[in-house]
């Protein structure tokens, strides 16, 4: 018992209780009248009473915020400024096509016909006060292949379907057969061309979703023979003999609990119960690096949206930030009281959200490792997180079946979405942030109206000052649809660039 860390944490740290000043006075007077010093001593020693001025909270408000293992978050914990805006898109010259002659522009400006060399965007858009500086954290610059990817992304974005309560997305479900409950992690690339599954038998399998097969790069002897100046050199370096629908990657020592594709589709990360994170090349389909740092199972890993950085979180209650070219982590985020089950980057790559078994969600600043926000309110370990595409909001899902929506800027809970009956393992916002999809162990995918949930929070400054939560009771109104599969829990959701929803799960076949 002495060595158990959770117990030690309980005994040393104080449970935080938020109470209004009037209620606190009442409590104090009541205890002093009764001459009951025992309780008062316990309170002094083990509770931290965070007093706020103002109206006491109603029971439902208290219920919604409680649940964390260490009580609620202190008010100072959520006061730091968070830059939740998005980074500016870089200027890209789009070559003139026959069909579309759009030049890359900052958002909102009228399109020009010819691409211009000098950036017209520097004067147009003022720095968003909520966005971090471009060079706040070092980010890799764009290579030519990345610029081509961005152009493709822009083109796909123009063909994107706008979703809404009257225009729900179609859902395409990928079921992993013959996995025998061994499917533990799934990831899909941003352009939806590859799907990877991590399994309990310590393998990682990659499939191609498109008709194009997976090819490995030729061996070194053959590579020296090809003509490097030819137009299709990128095709020639591929070895046709190795074309196949799927590839299997061996190397881990235990079940693979998290996978993540890199944004440029060159690398795949996987983390497993053996405590390592492995980087695989998707051009040779072999393991390149094994990052050892956690000595305990690693539950989740994710590449940053700009590539190069990735985070991992595991049983040792620490989340680490790594870069692919450093064999040791760059940052360590300690503070959780129990395992970290889920780690997600903010779209601007400056912040990291971690969900943990101690039922809190913390937002960390990558630049200096500080914890900027603590969100309490879940009643069970948190298993999924999702940032909205505009970077302002965070959704979290836990074993209690509730999805909670948080305003990052103000540090408040906005909404509580009830409906699921079992653990929520997958959360994803649609590409423009209008719909939130959630998938859970109860074999359903539910769609929620995100626009409606977020649009009525701008008004209330009073709530922001006191930190109270005003939950509207209309989570049923926000639910747009429930789609059940027969017996397949949903463990991953992904919106394609055109707003088609892909879901993935392993078929449950008891025998």
């Amino acid at each position: 018992m002495r060595g158990n860390e959770t117990l030690l944490d309980f005994r040393t740290s104080k449970f935080v209780l938020r109470i209004s000043r009037d209620s606190y006075q009442l409590l104090k007077r009541h205890l002093q009248e009764r001459q009951n010093n025992q309780i008062w001593n316990i309170i002094q020693e083990h509770l931290y009473i965070d007093i706020f001025d103002g109206m006491p909270r109603s029971k439902s408000q208290i219920d919604s915020m409680s649940g964390s293992l260490a009580g609620e978050a202190k008010r100072e914990a959520n006061k730091a400024k968070v830059f939740y805006g998005l980074l500016k898109e870089p200027e890209i010259e789009v070559p003139l096509d026959d069909e579309d002659e759009e030049a890359e522009n900052e958002e909102g400006k009228p399109k020009k016909k010819k691409p211009k060399k000098d950036s017209m965007g520097s004067k147009s858009k003022k720095q968003d006060p909520n966005a971090p500086q471009q060079n706040r954290i070092p980010l890799p610059e764009l290579k030519d292949s990345d610029k081509l990817d961005k152009i493709m992304y822009m083109k796909e974005a123009t063909k994107r379907i706008r979703l809404g309560p009257d225009n729900l997305p179609s859902i395409c479900f990928y079921t992993f057969l013959n996995a025998y409950q061994g499917l533990t992690a799934v990831d899909i690339t941003d352009d939806s061309s590859l799907i990877a599954g991590g399994f309990a038998d310590s393998t990682v399998r990659v499939w191609s979703v498109t008709p194009r097969k997976l090819r490995a790069v030729k061996s070194a002897t053959d590579l020296s023979l090809i003509d490097k100046e030819s137009e299709d050199v990128l095709e020639r370096i591929m070895d046709e003999k190795t074309a196949s629908e799927s590839k299997i990657l061996y190397g881990h020592n235990g079940p693979v609990y998290g996978i993540s594709f890199s944004p440029d589709r060159n690398y795949l990360l996987s983390c497993s119960e053996d405590g390592t994170v492995r980087l695989w090349s998707l051009q040779t389909f072999t393991c390149l690096v094994c990052y050892k740092g956690h000595n305990y199972p690693v539950w989740d890993v994710q590449f940053s949206p700009h590539g190069y950085y990735f985070t991992s979180g595991g049983h040792d209650r620490v989340a680490r930030l790594w870069a692919t070219d450093h064999y040791q982590p760059l940052r360590m985020f300690a503070g959780h009281l129990a395992d970290i089950t889920c780690t997600r980057f903010h779209p601007n790559s400056n912040y990291l959200a971690t969900g943990s078994a101690d039922r809190t969600v913390r937002l960390w600043d990558i630049l200096n490792g500080n914890c900027n926000r603590i969100f309490t309110g879940h009643k069970g370990p948190i298993h999924s997180l999702a940032f909205s595409p505009n970077g302002k909001f965070l959704a979290s899902g836990a074993t209690d079946g509730r999805v909670l929506l948080w305003d990052i800027g103000r540090g408040l809970m906005i909404e509580e979405l009830n409906g699921h009956t079992d653990t929520i393992y997958a959360l994803k916002f649609s590409r423009d942030g209008e719909i939130l999809a959630s998938g859970s162990m109860d074999n359903t995918v539910r769609l929620w109206d995100a626009v409606k949930a977020f649009d009525d929070i701008e008004t209330d400054d009073f709530t922001a000052a006191t930190g109270h939560v005003h939950l509207s009771e209309n989570s049923l109104e926000l639910q747009l649809g429930t789609y059940t599969s027969k017996s397949t829990p949903v463990i991953h959701l992904h919106f394609t660039r055109r707003n088609l929803l892909l879901a993935a799960g392993g078929c449950y076949s008891p025998f």
Binding site: T12, S13, L223, T276, T286, N295, Y308, H315, D325
Partner: protein, 238 residues
């Protein structure tokens, strides 16, 4: 599932324990797994305690011996993560250093080669004369995969992985074929496929997996698990 009346007594006890801990849904195999774990744990502790008792020249196993056995085994296999204040201190130090700048135009961004798994982990044995290769097998204690390589560097050893709960496991690193950026690699002479397995490692689950990978990787028809002293012609280069 057998009805509770016909189950052996320790299975009934295990069911009761699970019920007391609040676990209501579980597959029937879980009881067997828990019983196996219990048996193995208890026998390990008692064996350790017996060793400690004989070391202390006692004829009977004492409660102190059991306590010592439990503690030693706990420190060895059931370690728990470091305490929170230690983690906070380490994190504070780590987070003080600024984030390193990113060099532009570097190709694949990987750690220095000694931290990657991209090196070959075999060493080519010089070709013996075809007539007399009857010298005994030279067992190289690492798994080798024939691959075209331009680097005659020292092979990387199989490194034991970190402690896991169920005994030692060896991670054998399978080298990748050279990363795609090696267009300048000079092709070496067609290599000999030397695949040797240290017999003492056979039986570990990982070796089985890795041999599968070896046989998958190799495109040659000959079996990859050949012994050294067989003729070394007819090996196909990968």
């Amino acid at each position: 599932m057998a009805s509770p009346k016909t189950l052996p007594k320790d299975a009934q006890v295990m069911i009761q324990i699970l019920k007391d801990m609040g676990i209501t849904e579980y597959e029937p195999r879980v009881i067997n797994q828990m019983l196996e774990f219990t048996y193995r744990y208890v026998t390990t502790i008692i064996e350790d305690a017996k060793i400690y008792a004989t070391h202390a020249k006692k004829s009977n196993v004492d409660a102190d011996d059991i306590r010592l056995a439990i503690q030693c085994r706990m420190d060895q296999s059931f370690t728990s993560p470091p305490p929170r204040d230690f983690l906070l201190e380490v994190a504070r130090q780590k987070n003080q250093t600024p984030l390193p700048l990113i060099k532009p135009y570097t190709g694949p961004r990987l750690p220095p080669d000694r931290y990657c798994l991209t090196a070959p982990n075999y060493r080519l044995k010089s070709l013996q004369k075809k007539t007399s290769s009857s010298a005994g097998r030279i067992t190289v204690p690492r798994l080798s995969v024939g691959a075209v390589s331009s680097r005659p560097s020292t092979p990387t050893l199989a490194t034991p992985s970190v402690q896991s709960l169920t005994g030692q496991r060896f991670t054998v690193q399978i080298p990748s074929s050279q990363a795609s950026s090696t267009k300048s690699a000079t092709p070496s002479t067609p290599t000999v496929q030397n695949v040797l397995i240290n017999p003492s490692l056979i039986g570990s689950k990982n070796i089985l997996i890795t041999t599968n990978m070896v046989s998958q990787n190799s495109t040659s028809d000959s079996s990859t698990l050949k012994r050294k002293h067989e003729e070394d012609d007819d090996y196909d280069a990968l």
